[in-house]
């Protein structure tokens, strides 16, 4: 899932303080799980903004709402009329949601209330880790299911580097060395010999280095058109 973290309140306040009618708009999927921007977080943030406005003697209306997903039109189309009645939408969805809404809403600004952090998992409550970089060219079958692109601080394809210390990365003792994990896991899997072959330079154009990415399934688009008649 996409993991996000709510922006510092002072930064949010600086963004919204000039607006009269603000909607804090939450998303109940990924960012709700990371306690950043679900309906509950949107409600709390809206009430904090109202208190701050009162403290500063500003005449501001701050409401909150949330929908299931900000990345598909069917969820927020029913809400669009209400959303368009505000001066500002402070979205607590991930960056996908902010962009998607900004593309559709018209002349109303959409600001981010959340920093979109990474694609990650929740090994235990309150702990999130990045496990995929969305590079568009998966090689996990070659590395024991452990991603060197995003879990190695240097994205090495032929690791480890000289910075591994007691299984930890040179960047921080909190970070496991991905290549240490890869080697140890592939030894257990009996596939260590696969690592004796050099991985050639990668084609990074499938990632963010090839310009904005799109994925098109024409047959599905055609079916949808037919349904609409």
């Amino acid at each position: 899932m996409i993991v996000g973290q709510q922006k510092p309140f002072d930064e949010i306040w600086e963004m919204v303080r000039g607006f009269k009618k603000v909607l804090v708009f939450g998303c109940n999927t990924c960012v709700a799980i990371s306690h950043a921007g679900g309906g509950k977080e949107a409600e709390i943030l809206a009430s904090m903004l109202r208190m701050k406005a009162t403290q500063e003697g500003l005449d501001m209306q701050v409401d909150n709402a949330a929908i299931e997903r900000h990345c598909e039109p069917e969820f927020f189309e029913p809400m669009m009329e209400k959303v368009r009645s505000y001066d500002l939408v402070l979205s607590t969805a991930c960056g996908v949601g902010v962009n998607f809404l900004a593309d559709r809403i018209g002349d109303i600004p959409v600001y981010p209330g959340v920093n979109t952090s990474f694609y990650g998992a929740v090994p235990k409550a309150g702990f999130f880790v990045e496990l995929c970089g969305g590079c568009g060219n998966c090689i996990l079958h070659l590395t024991g299911g452990i991603c060197p692109v995003v879990r190695c601080s240097k994205s090495l394809m032929n690791g480890p580097c000289g910075g591994t210390d007691k299984g930890k990365c040179e960047v921080s003792k909190e970070i496991d060395c991905a290549w240490y994990l890869i080697v140890e896991r592939m030894k257990k899997l009996g596939t260590i010999e696969q690592l004796y072959t050099i991985q050639p330079p990668r084609n990074w154009s499938t990632g963010t280095h090839g310009g904005p990415r799109r994925l098109v399934y024409e047959h599905i688009m055609e079916l949808e058109e037919e349904k609409k008649g």
Partner: protein, 326 residues
């Protein structure tokens, strides 16, 4: 001859090679490079010119290498994968060769968060590159040299002829994989290898045995790395904090004893520790050169270049081989 560099000639001669290290300054003043080059020339076959080591901005390796070359010191330019994509790397290699450089060491580079272990501000917020890794950079350099082709396949009219180096951390984690890590660099085309600093000769000897069992000592020239110790504190720091470096307690004890012999006299404590450090260095050089398959030593006297002359003489490695001009 692949490059015609002095280092390559020494290695081909079969005599033990000696490389040293020159760290460029955080300044546009060339004099420090000139001075360091004067301290090193004649005492080593080539000197590595580090590439923004510890992730701190300094005179670029290529520029400092050209300054050193003008002063009569053969440089080993270094190229990290941290700061350049494959376009910049190859452009710099063409330029470096055009300026007369003949040796290049490929390394991953300290991560930008390192910032001189927090001693300097550095640029921890920088974007890194890591388009290719060390193995891949070695392969690119070999393809340019031997096939006159760029990585993407375009033809090179006059190819850059580098003697290609890579680093090896023989005692890094996971240790049983390190000989294979070396093998990949050799398979990619590394002509010479400089290792991380070695104090634990016993473990290095056993890692070298594994490298020999893979036949790597015959396909590349392995130069054992020695970081000249200057104080007990430095040895303790390296043992605790430098990845892939372990310092036997006996060496730390020797340095501590040297320090304590001076009592409260700080100047004398420094002198006694430096003298002991030089003795340790010479012993390490001799022990490392005795290991089958080792073709030379890489002496890193960090910010202490003047020490190299005495070390090389005491180790019986002077005079350095010379070759008639072509």
């Amino acid at each position: 001859m692949k490059s015609g560099s002095n280092l390559e000639k020494v290695i081909l001669s079969g005599k033990p090679a000696v490389t040293a290290e020159l760290g460029p300054p955080m300044s546009a003043d060339p004099h420090e490079v000139v001075e360091k080059a004067h301290k090193l020339r004649g005492w080593c076959d080539a000197a590595n010119i580090t590439d923004c080591q510890t992730a701190v901005v300094r005179i670029s390796s290529i520029a400092a290498a050209v300054i050193a070359l003008r002063e009569g010191l053969e440089p080993v330019m270094q190229m990290t994968c941290r700061d350049r994509n494959r376009i910049a790397m190859q452009a710099d290699l063409l330029g470096a060769a055009a300026l007369g450089l003949k040796n290049c060491l490929c390394i991953a580079g300290d991560h930008q968060k390192f910032s001189s272990a927090g001693r300097l501000k550095g640029h921890p917020g920088a974007k890194n590159v890591y388009d290719v890794d060390t193995c891949q950079l070695v392969g690119i350099m070999k393809k340019m040299r031997d096939e006159s082709l760029q990585e993407g396949g375009d033809k090179i009219e006059v190819p850059p002829k580098f003697f290609i180096g890579a680093s090896w951390t023989p005692m890094g984690d996971p240790m049983d994989f390190r000989p294979y890590n070396l093998k990949k660099k050799v398979d990619a085309g590394a002509d010479f290898i400089q290792t991380q600093g070695i104090y634990d000769v016993v473990t290095f000897r056993s890692q070298m045995e594994k490298a020999r069992n893979l036949g790597l000592h015959e396909r590349t020239a392995i130069l054992g790395g020695i970081i000249v110790p200057r104080s007990a504190m430095m040895l303790k720091y390296m043992d605790a904090s430098v990845a892939g470096v372990t310092v036997p307690k006996a060496l730390i004890d020797r340095m501590t004893k040297a320090k304590e012999a001076a009592g409260d006299d700080k100047k004398m404590a420094r002198e006694l520790q430096e003298a002991e450090g030089l003795k340790i260095t010479v012993e390490l050089i001799q022990q490392i050169l005795d290991i089958p398959g080792v073709k030379g030593v890489h002496i890193q006297a960090i910010e202490w270049e003047s020490a190299v002359e005495g070390i090389v003489k005491a180790a019986g490695l002077y005079p350095r081989p010379t070759f008639p001009a072509e």
